[in-house]
Symmetry: C2
Subunit: 226 residues, 2 copies
DNA sequence: CTTACTTTGCGTCATATTAACGCAAACATG
DNA sequence: CATGTTTGCGTTAATATGACGCAAAGTAAG
């Protein structure tokens, strides 16, 4: 067997699937590459892991330097290992997915640096490397996770209306959910709190604003939608 | 930014959590190390990833050479990145969990090579590296997965009685489940098929033998136990 | 074979959850 | 003010769940 110091191994990259939700559209941040391979093609943002860096630090570095974002919800997704996935040589990719409210970063669709942009998940371009596969895995994870864990709040403002939350779920899951049943289930689950406040606006009264109940223990939620 | 060929990165290991079920006990395969670090301590079986090897190939290599096993159920678990997790230097570990019926390999408790043995998950020794953490993650995954996916069949013989399946679920989840309600749910889910056969034995009649329904589509199962 | 005990298969029933949808008050718009 | 939409709350039938009864089938021992 190989001794530790003799060991030579594949390169290790971190790639990110950053989801954003804005005006009823779920999007993913893509980078337009300015170098080979896949020059001028779209890929997920990523970087090689530094020698003493943790995965989460690498994620933070990518988010900050390439995208100008900080303190996002991050979760490890999967590690990809196909030998041909990077034409430059063997690269293992550990992937994470992130959720962000684009409004917190002034990054509404179309207003970003010219090599980074949001792409509606229903209108994705071709992606370089095996990033299509990674994206699919991330979307699948988001969809299954939101059914039992209140992960969607990361995509909304701190306070939101029931309608906004309902639209978010319909958009992410790509199904229609009965508004009244959704309301009942979400309220029963105690995942959100009625702040009693209203959004100040044009007229006198408005629908209630809710916020995420951070004190909630995890597994008492099961949005069993058809 | 670093050029691809200049890049130097952490070492990459694969570690396995191999679960086996035998005589109503759920166990994990551990290796007694014969070299530093953690000499004479227990660890999960693992190896460094070879340059052109896929994760699944490395898993197969570990299973075959260290444990004499082949063709197990394998699923990627998580990738671990703490800088101090290996005293020899920076090692990233991509982990998998495997399910095996020990009877298929003649590996009943205590009958293995002297440096490999099954350990009841309720009586685990101290583990080297961060392997305790990996083991916990694997057990958590197994427990949550078995509630919505028929993953337990990998641990039983091809044909099994309802009682055996029921005992397996109680053992893995470490709870008691009403026998009659379990039966109803499992049969309603169509996850198993009544083979019509009986186990040949001492007397004339025996309980039905069932087998896993391989044609089943995935997500129509929800064992909602209390 | 008979008796006593355990295991297995099937059924009942009260309660909880779900899906589908009604409706009126609050709200927006011209 | 008149009209259409949004929001909050409720009802109901169908289904799922948890707790448990019971008898036929199977086992063990005299």
């Amino acid at each position: 067997m190989l001794k530790f110091h003799e060991y030579r191994n594949p390169a290790l990259a971190i790639d990110l699937v950053v989801f954003g939700y804005y005006e009823k559209v779920l999007s993913v941040l893509l980078l337009n590459r300015n170098e080979e391979p896949f020059k001028n093609g779209w890929t997920l943002p990523g970087a090689f892991l530094q020698m003493e860096e943790r995965f989460s630090e690498a994620c933070g570095r990518i988010l900050k330097t390439k995208l100008g974002m900080e303190h996002l919800f991050l979760e490890q997704l999967y590690s990809f290992d196909e030998p041909g996935r990077d034409p430059r040589g063997r690269v293992i990719s550990v992937t994470y997915f992130a959720l962000v409210n684009p409004r917190n970063f002034g990054l509404a669709a179309g207003k970003m640096a010219n090599d980074v942009s949001w792409h509606d998940i229903k209108k994705m371009p071709e992606l370089g490397f095996d990033h299509k596969k990674i994206f699919k895995k991330a979307l699948e994870r988001l969809r299954s996770k939101i059914l039992y864990f209140p992960v969607g709040f990361e995509l909304l403002d701190e306070m939101f209306t029931m309608t906004e939350l309902h639209e978010l779920y319909e958009c992410i899951l790509d199904i229609s959910i009965d508004r009244r049943n959704f309301r009942r289930k979400i309220l029963d689950s105690e995942y959100i709190i009625d702040t009693g406040q209203k959004r100040e606006g044009l007229q006198n009264r408005h629908p209630s604003l809710y916020k995420f109940n951070k004190k909630l223990k995890q597994h008492n939620f099961n949005l069993n939608v058809s």
